[in-house]
């Protein structure tokens, strides 16, 4: 493997890790507040479709992004209604949202565009274009550093940089602000928050809302950044890989980054090589595909380290002494 191949794989890792990271951070806000969310996939999918559709019609990717966020937030509010207001089963609600998105996107896409459940290809201003960072061209001649800066770090769309910037931001919000303190508290012991005179319901809705916004960005990136338009089921399990990454990251922002980069790398390698030959041992592409899930199962079982979810996760809050 030569240097250029490595750069290309890492470059693709960053692109593929971006939607995972955004969804993973989305899940982090929700689950840290005690609302389990297996509906990340559905929210991303809905956002992917609506962002592509609006971007195509309006020609503006920014309007598309807004529309994607809107679609995702609507589903997030359905989840909030079911799991916070009506104290329903958060897992069942998540399942329902995934199917709702899977069905509605194709249905509406077919009705609007008649292209078999996809949107027309996006071009020009309807897509997020790569941004060339300053001096990228000037440095391109420099050996080693040139390609790293010019090809790996520079040349991604704005949402990629946003996703990566969200990692320290999330860390800061979670651990340095009042909101973050209360958010973490409500996922661990809502009674502590309630007796301190803070509304559990409002906090949880806020968390679910943020989750919706981030899933919306993730979906919009898929359809308008990573690819040029929406196709049926284009999330392809990314919402679940993000969920796996979240567990793998022990619900922590920086760990989420590493987990998503790792899972992104697996995807990038699987995309490039059908079978990876590691000095005689051939690793089939399917192993790369399922490795995130296997790692998560092993991790969940507590064989390496311990994944302790937020203690109040999955439980609707009922006031009691």
């Amino acid at each position: 493997m030569d240097f250029l191949t490595i750069i290309q794989i890492l470059d693709s890792t960053i692109r593929l890790a971006t939607p995972l990271l955004l969804a993973c951070l989305a899940g982090l806000y929700s689950e840290r507040a005690g609302v389990f969310d297996i509906g990340l996939e559905g929210k991303m999918l809905a956002a992917a479709f609506l962002s592509a559709a609006v971007a195509y019609v309006s020609g503006s990717v920014w309007l598309g992004l807004l529309a994607g966020i809107g679609a995702s937030v609507v589903l997030a509010m359905v989840h909030g209604l079911a799991s916070i207001t009506f104290r329903g089963n958060q897992l069942i609600s998540g399942v329902a949202i995934n199917f709702l998105a899977a069905g509605l996107t194709v249905l509406v896409a077919q009705s609007w565009f008649q292209q078999g459940g996809r949107t027309p290809s996006l071009m020009g201003g309807a897509r997020f274009e790569p941004i060339t960072l300053p001096f990228a061209d000037a440095l391109s001649g420099v050996p080693f550093l040139g390609p790293i800066y010019g090809d790996l770090i520079s040349g991604h769309s704005v949402l990629v940089y946003l996703a990566f910037a969200l990692v320290p931001t999330t860390w800061w919000v979670l651990f340095r602000t009042r909101f973050g303190l209360r958010l973490r508290a409500v996922g661990e012991n809502p009674a502590a928050v309630d007796t301190a005179g803070v509304s559990v319901t409002r906090l949880r809705y806020a968390a679910v809302l943020i989750c919706g916004v981030l899933c919306g960005i993730a979906g919009a990136y898929l359809a308008t950044g990573l690819q040029a338009g929406f196709v049926k089921d284009m999330t392809a399990g990314r919402g679940f890989i993000a969920l796996a990454a979240l567990i793998f990251a022990k619900w922590r922002p920086w760990n989420s980054l590493w987990a998503c980069l790792l899972f992104g790398l697996l995807q990038a390698v699987a995309l490039r090589y059908q079978n990876l030959d590691l000095g005689g041992v051939v690793i089939p592409v399917q192993v790369m595909d399922v490795l995130p899930y296997i790692l998560t199962v092993i991790f969940l079982a507590g064989f390496v380290g311990k994944a302790i979810p937020p203690r109040a996760g999955g439980e609707p809050y009922v006031k009691e002494r």
């Binding site: 340095r176 009042r178 303190l181 508290a185 661990e188 309630d194 301190a196 803070v198």
Partner: protein, 536 residues
């Protein structure tokens, strides 16, 4: 100020009358469905005092305090804080009115540091750093002032229970609480920790704080409070100055002179030892030792009653004997050792050996509420050959069995198809008791046999228990109702803090003595001599 205007003579106002009570409750009532938890309760607590509220479990103490802290809304009544009528709608208004509460079950975030727990909900701004710095300074000051030492950077779940409680107190003080309510604060503390807590409370009082201490332990009331109110069955039965009362008087007020349920029973004729317990110890999942070396035996044809305040290890004793918990020590049934861990120690093995078990909580354990009566009538015995028909359960046999038991125990309505949850408490309990007694066990474990049961059913269940004894069976009775213990037991053992404080003969003891033992006071000789001199 108010009193000045009232008298019109500012300089002449009497000092005591000038001070409004820190808390005044007027006519507080609260019902949960048909259960009236608080009935027309009024109290006044003067500032700078420690006021005790004592009463049995379920007397309504915690409900009253939850109303004061805005956790529940009272159906009727008024609350005055420092003489001002205050409408406490939620915890936030209670905090703003200067009320702090230390709940029985702490409301802490286990993986937060002490500092984070203290500032939660009382942050100064959107950013944490200034709040944390401020809290750190205040905590140091508070620690010095009140002996409230806790490392502010410790993670709460790593702290001992006593230290966690200090964090709760610090939380209240950080919010400028002038009135501090503590609900059963020593229930989870070691004696040394409890002593430290009372020193803290003493310091707080000296600084002019008002403290309400809810407890069922007489010793604590006598040692720490200035005034004390007694609650019984949702009502405030008395408020007295602690210095002017005695533990005996309080015990009597607390338990009350209820209409004693007399059960006709002859003297026991105890036979051979059926159950022998030696050095029985139990550690719960949190690592707390719940039974600290119990020694007891029960003979055939006798009822051994265990008296005690709930939570002192009685439940664990029943659960271990019933095969729901593992334990260490020795337990022999009819001379043969019972396995206490591993295979053969589960509940069905116990049943096979002739131990029947009426659990304390029929809703959680004794019944499957959504099952029909006939499905519940063999719950735990459902493996019996007589309920099997080939590879299926003999549902017809179960239903016939149910009808027979319902007739014999007068369960109403006698409908085997009714779901267990649709019966009244008394009839639910009759189903459980019928199931266990009709097995004709060698040993019956029975916990809170008449909790939530109407008078008619109480009598009936008591008769059944006595009848089983008269058939020569051994019975272990656990009840928090002292008069039930007195009515049924042939011997009474008192449990406190996972230990047996002593065994008494119901004919030669009385409620006062048991009450003191239940509060952890074993030295009852003074009481005995006092009684003797009165009689003489």
């Amino acid at each position: 100020m108010v009193s000045n205007q009232h008298t019109g003579r500012p300089d002449m106002a009497a000092p005591d009358a000038a001070k409004a009570p820190a808390i005044e409750l007027r006519g507080i009532s609260k019902s949960f469905g048909p259960v009236q938890a608080n009935k027309d309760i009024s109290i006044r607590v003067m500032p700078g005092t420690i006021h005790g509220i004592i009463g049995e479990n379920g007397a309504g103490k915690s409900t009253l305090m939850s109303i004061l802290y805005g956790f529940y809304k009272a159906d009727a009544g008024e609350i005055f804080i420092n003489g001002t009528k205050t409408n406490i709608t939620d915890s936030q208004t209670a905090i703003a009115a200067g009320i702090g509460m230390v709940f029985q079950h702490f409301k802490l975030v286990p993986n937060f540091t002490v500092l984070e727990n203290v500032i939660l909900g009382a942050e100064d701004g959107a950013l944490l750093r200034p709040s944390l710095a401020k809290a750190r300074k205040e905590l140091t000051a508070l620690a010095k002032e009140y002996e409230l030492n806790v490392n502010p950077d410790s993670v709460v779940e790593d702290l001992s229970v006593g230290h966690q409680q200090r964090v709760e107190i610090l939380k209240a003080l950080y919010r400028r609480a002038e009135i501090l309510i503590l609900d059963e604060p020593t229930g989870v503390l070691t004696p040394a920790e409890a002593d430290h807590l009372f020193r803290i409370l003493e310091n707080l009082r000296r600084e002019g704080k008002t403290i309400i201490l809810i407890t069922h332990k007489l010793r604590e009331i006598m040692e720490t409070t200035d005034t004390v109110s007694v609650m019984r069955r949702g009502q405030m039965t008395a408020t007295v100055k602690t210095a002017e009362t005695s533990p005996e008087e309080l015990a009597e007020l607390m338990v009350g002179r209820k209409v004693l349920l007399r059960v006709d029973k002859t003297a026991a004729t105890p036979g051979a030892k059926v159950l022998e317990i030696e050095n029985l110890k139990v550690v719960d999942s949190a690592g707390v030792m719940r039974l600290k070396g119990i020694n007891l035996d029960i003979r055939a044809g006798e009822i051994l009653g265990i008296a005690g305040v709930a939570g002192n290890g009685q439940s664990e004793l029943l659960e271990v004997l019933g095969g729901m918990h593992s334990a260490t020590g020795t337990v022999r049934l009819n001379g043969k050792p019972l396995p206490l861990t591993g295979p053969g120690s589960d509940a069905s093995a116990r049943r096979d050996l002739g131990i029947a078990h009426v659990p304390e909580d029929r809703h959680r354990e004794g019944l499957i509420l959504d099952f029909h009566a006939w499905e519940n009538v063999a719950f735990g015995y459902h493996r019996d050959a007589k309920y099997q028909r080939g590879m299926f359960m003999d549902n017809a046999a179960l239903r016939a069995d149910t009808e027979a038991k319902m007739a014999k125990f007068d369960v109403r309505p006698p409908d085997p198809w009714l779901a267990a949850k649709s019966f009244s408490g008394g009839n639910q309990q009759k189903i459980v008791v019928a199931r266990e007694i009709e097995r004709n066990p060698d040993l019956l474990l029975i916990g809170q046999p008449t909790r939530g049961v109407d008078i008619g059913a109480i009598e009936f269940i008591h008769e059944q228990i006595i009848a089983l004894r008269d058939q020569g069976k051994a019975i272990l009775l656990v009840s928090v109702e002292l008069d039930e213990i007195f009515a049924l037991s042939d011997r009474i053992a008192v449990m406190f803090d996972g230990q047996i404080m002593g065994v008494r003969n119901p004919a030669t003891t009385n409620e006062k003595e048991l009450g003191l033992m239940m509060a952890g006071i074993t030295d009852t000789s003074a009481l005995a001599t006092q009684e003797a001199s009165q009689n003489g």
